[in-house]
Symmetry: C2
Subunit: 280 residues, 2 copies
């Protein structure tokens, strides 16, 4: 908004209808969030902002947990020649790792910045030791993420974290589409392009562990809460897997699309390492 | 406190002197937190609670980031016969993973629950792309953690996260000792016992990457903020490395000590998997 504050909102045609709360984390944490959203849509006095005039931030500003899944697209597993995994490979990110759907991605200190377009699951209600049916009911909706990865740092040790949690490098958004309006299991096209060149192209029906399966699995050991986020993994076509290898170059535009949700558009920038603070 | 609220406090001999804020995260996030703590100690009107009457929770209730380091004690690396690593192996935890210094640790669904006593670093001021000297200045103090790990889940995939982030299984505390009062580099005894039997015993001077080194390294890719937490890794003597292997049994008392900080005392309990919700 003009005063630099944020507001959660529900899309209604060409308008965003503003909710009373500052962000989606707060909206989802409140009781009966779905009824509140339905009520505001029906309220003729509700404040509206035309879609063309709204500045969209990442839909979740401070998720308590971000759980990410590796190696999870059947077509990608097949092309790598690996066996189908019995369990999902999970790692974490921090809230500070997220950035906005149209933000520049600035990286200082990695020469191997790679892309991973992913479907992201937004938790809507608390879920603990759930089966897949209960897990599915706890999903508020779906959004898009790009798990931008610094491969040189990711491969320094066996654990990937240090290549995965660079500040403000995982764009998220542009919107959360509620689970009743979208069917990732039925199949949504997913793609990543650099400029006009398509790098990744697959379909969410190729997910080995889909949203409900990942929610159910994760809920066996940690309670998922409203606003928590699960990134479901990426299909083939990442830069590390290409022949020859190909990483992001300064100034390139990374576009991540999922059918029915929209697209992320992020310009990649190489930033200088902070010399003074680094003691250089 | 009696009304179930929490308060941050500074220890003064046999008293806790209460600060005006609810928890240490809030205290550290405020400007001039050290001056505020000094002032309250000198204030004869400040509220006090005798140490024997205080119920201590984990000192950080909602850290934004918890970064953990694997394989980091020289004696442990030597005993495993591995080469000295060039980079720290890092993985993450969630705020929900933490529990109180005297809390029961309840686990449902793992048969290989192991211990990892660790020195934990508490960040006191924002730090970004720092050298070790600047990193050292950003450390508010040190506390104790036990990175309790579900080995069967940890080894299901190459990434450790799913064995490391079980809800309320990492005890933290009992206090944060400020960096001016303690010298982990000079050497603090660290030990883990089950009942009377010592399982781990080493000294923090054996750390390959010490607190300032881990803060400096992590700050190259993500801004550390007041209240963020870094777990520095564990020495030899974990159950997985023993011959024969030895894991926690229902009812056992896990005691984690570091010289100059105090101890964690946590009873281990096997909990039933929630049958209804799990759809069993």
């Amino acid at each position: 908004l003009e005063d630099s504050s944020t507001r959660a909102a529900v899309r209604d045609g060409e308008d965003w209808v503003l909710l009373a709360v500052a962000d989606l984390d707060e909206h989802l944490a409140a009781p009966a969030s779905q009824a509140v959203a339905t009520a505001v849509l029906a309220d003729p006095a509700a404040a509206r902002v035309p879609v063309a005039e709204a500045k969209l931030l990442r839909p979740l500003l401070r998720p308590g947990k971000i759980v990410c899944c590796g190696l999870n697209y059947r077509d990608h597993i097949a092309e790598t020649g690996r066996e189908t995994p019995e369990y999902p490979t999970l790692f974490g990110k921090f809230a500070d790792t997220l950035t906005d759907p149209d933000a520049d991605i600035e990286v200082a200190g990695s020469g191997e910045v790679d892309w991973e377009g992913e479907l992201a699951v937004v938790i809507g209600s608390e879920v603990w030791q759930a089966d897949e049916r209960a897990a599915e009911q706890a999903i508020a909706g779906y959004t898009i993420a790009n798990d931008v990865s610094m491969r040189d740092w990711q491969r320094r040790t066996l654990q990937w974290l240090q290549g995965k949690v660079w500040e403000r490098t995982t764009p998220l958004g542009p919107v959360v589409v509620t689970a009743d309006e979208i069917d990732p299991r039925g199949g949504l096209e997913i793609s990543v392009s650099i400029g006009e060149e398509t790098m990744q192209h697959s379909n969410t029906r190729e997910l080995l562990f889909d949203g409900p399966a990942l929610v159910a699995y994760t809920s066996q050991f940690t309670r998922l809460r409203p606003g928590d986020l699960i990134l479901t993994g990426t299909p083939g076509g990442v830069g590390l897997g290409r022949e020859p290898r190909r990483f992001l170059a300064d100034g390139e535009l990374l576009v991540t699309r999922i059918e029915g949700i929209g697209e992320l558009r992020n310009r990649f920038r190489i930033a200088p390492v902070s010399g003074a603070e680094a003691g250089a």
